[in-house]
């Protein structure tokens, strides 16, 4: 009996292929943007009875590639679409719908903070990234302490924002091999639990208890932290847009999602998760 029932099942199954779910809104991408979008999706699912699937595979790069391949209608990204992305998908018209602003913090573990390291310059970060500086006492620490760098894995928006600022783009960054971290909590957890640790992390996750956000020493010698005021007046250099990407202008349920995210209720979700709403930054471009 079993083989027959299996064949029957297979026949039924293949007839289902033709009626693939078409009205489902699919979204994939950055874990940073996900916090806001996933909560918006919960609201729209309940109130508008929309069918919305959200996933975070591959971070921002996953958002771009799945949108490029037509697997999702919206990609979540925490960086800008760069020339390489566009070159890879020449037929896709990437439209960046910015919904908020975040910054990338350079975070350190408590012992580094207590060792007196509170700020770094771009050159110092470069030296650390290239392995020329391996001890915190070379960059302002009072005690000798080894530097343990955790690098955000390839494809993460956070990493791209970082190397864009330091080197001008992912391709211009030197090839280095550090232990890699993926998700935001993984990053925070590992930095918090490791002596001498440093990594890049969405500023909203730097809680000042387990991990500490360093200020940046600018080229004119001024020191700025990643406070909202410094993001709004653009003096903190590592700010970035939180963006929902569409292929051409969003339509249908993708537009409903986008409109919701830009509405007052949607914008209120950004500060809730530690980001800045568009109003907070006075509608500036990032």
């Amino acid at each position: 009996m079993k083989p027959f029932s299996f064949l029957t099942a297979l026949a039924i199954a293949s007839s289902l292929v033709s009626t693939a779910a078409a009205d489902t809104l699919k979204i994939n991408g950055s874990t940073t943007v996900n916090l806001v979008v996933a909560e918006a999706a919960e609201i729209l699912r309940a109130e508008n009875k929309l069918d919305i699937q959200v996933d975070t595979q591959g971070g921002s790069a996953g958002g771009i590639s799945m949108l490029g391949d037509g697997l999702v209608q919206l990609g979540m990204i925490s960086k800008h679409v760069n020339e390489d992305d566009k070159a890879k998908y020449p037929k896709v018209n990437f439209v960046e719908n910015t919904i908020g602003v975040d910054s990338v913090a350079i975070i350190v573990s408590k012992d580094v903070w207590d060792n007196g390291v509170k700020a770094l310059s771009k050159q110092q970060l470069k030296d650390i990234y290239e392995g020329k500086v391996t001890n915190w006492n070379q960059v302002g620490g009072t005690k000798s302490q080894r530097i343990a760098f955790f690098n955000k894995e390839p494809g993460r928006g956070t990493w791209e924002v970082f190397v864009h600022w330091v080197y001008g783009g992912p391709k211009l960054a030197p090839q280095v091999s550090f232990p890699e971290v993926g998700g935001n909590e993984e990053t925070r957890n590992k930095v918090a639990g490791t002596r001498g640790a440093i990594s890049q992390l969405s500023a909203s996750w730097a809680d000042g208890k387990k991990v500490f956000a360093l200020a940046m020493v600018l080229e004119d010698g001024k020191t700025v932290d990643s406070s909202n005021a410094h993001i709004a007046n653009k003096t903190y250099p590592l700010s970035r847009p939180l963006t929902v990407l569409s292929n051409g202008p969003a339509t249908g349920s993708a537009k409903v999602m986008l409109d919701f995210l830009l509405s007052d209720r949607g914008q209120a979700l950004l500060p809730k998760h530690g980001y800045m709403s568009l109003k907070d930054v006075g509608g500036q471009k990032y």
């Binding site: 591959g58 996953g62 590639s65 080894r146 390839p154 090839q175 232990p179 890699e180």
Partner: protein, 289 residues
């Protein structure tokens, strides 16, 4: 009809496995063309520069598996000797069932425990050797040791029990103690089976993915100066499997060389685990069975 269906479904299974092997060979062709044999020997993996050498990942996979075997095999053999030689049959079954439950614990749960407990334990315990963090090859190896322990115990226990009881009785009748019986009569005869348990456990260790991913540190290109350096076990590393579930798999698809390099890793893993499994299976076969 029954015969036809049997053939049909069996051929489907064979064809699928053939397709699997074929795809892994075919899809990795671009990287072989791009890198040649240096794909295997080259130490550097920088995907943005299209430099693909798998050596550091093969090293990582071998080291975590060796650590796992070094820890799990003695304990596993000891436990198997206890269950097979000292326990009455019913108790033995109960103990085996419990140990097999351990085998069913999902890798992701081991990984979670690794993050919570093992990582800090390794970091603190080996502080004298100054590990940079708690994510080390050793951490992954210890976690894997727990994961493959049930495999070693079950297979070794089977091998020991396969020796007829008459031999035990005869040896005891000659005045040998229980320990002497075990060492001079039972273990020599079960040697093949015990060896097989090591190889099959090795196959499992090399292929384990999720738990390793969460604690190994995922650091590319971290080859030590000496292959036999023990200090290097306290460094972060990358295994073939941790690479294959990383974000690079998403990035690579669409770039035929990069994708070829990822699929090529899968092919190498398939060869490594396949060799361990097949040789192990060959070992289990009794000479006249």
């Amino acid at each position: 009809m029954t015969k036809t269906l049997s053939w049909l479904f069996s051929l489907l299974a064979v064809a699928t496995m053939g397709l699997l092997l074929g795809i892994f060979i075919w899809q990795s062709v671009p990287v072989w063309k791009h890198e040649g044999w240096s794909y295997l020997w080259e130490k550097k993996w920088y995907f943005r520069q299209h430099e693909f050498g798998v050596m550091s990942m093969v090293y990582g996979t071998l080291i975590v598996s060796i650590i796992a075997l070094v820890l799990a095999v003695p304990v596993g053999w000891g436990a198997a000797v206890f269950t097979s030689e000292y326990l009455p049959r019913r108790v033995r079954m109960a103990v085996k069932i419990l140990i097999e439950l351990l085998a069913g614990v999902p890798g992701v749960i081991y990984g979670l425990l690794g993050i919570l407990l093992l990582r800090d334990w390794v970091y603190d315990t080996f502080e004298a050797f100054e590990p940079l963090s708690g994510d080390t090859l050793l951490t992954a190896g210890i976690l894997l040791a727990v994961m493959i322990l049930p495999t070693v115990v079950t297979l070794s226990d089977d091998a020991l029990r396969a020796i007829p009881s008459a031999q035990r009785l005869a040896a005891r009748g000659l005045g040998l103690t229980r320990a002497e019986t075990i060492f001079s009569v039972i273990i020599p005869q079960a040697a093949r089976g015990l060896g097989a348990s090591v190889l099959l456990a090795l196959g499992r260790a090399m292929g384990e993915t999720t738990a390793v991913f969460l604690v190994v540190g995922r650091q590319d290109n971290n080859l030590p100066d000496s292959w036999f350096s023990l200090r290097a076990w306290l460094d972060s590393g990358q295994t073939i499997t941790s690479k294959l579930v990383s974000s690079e798999t998403n990035i690579a698809y669409g770039d035929s060389i990069h994708w070829g390099a990822m699929v090529g890793l899968g092919l190498i893993l398939l060869v490594m685990t396949g060799a361990a499994t097949l040789v192990g299976t060959f070992f289990t076969r009794k000479p006249h069975a």
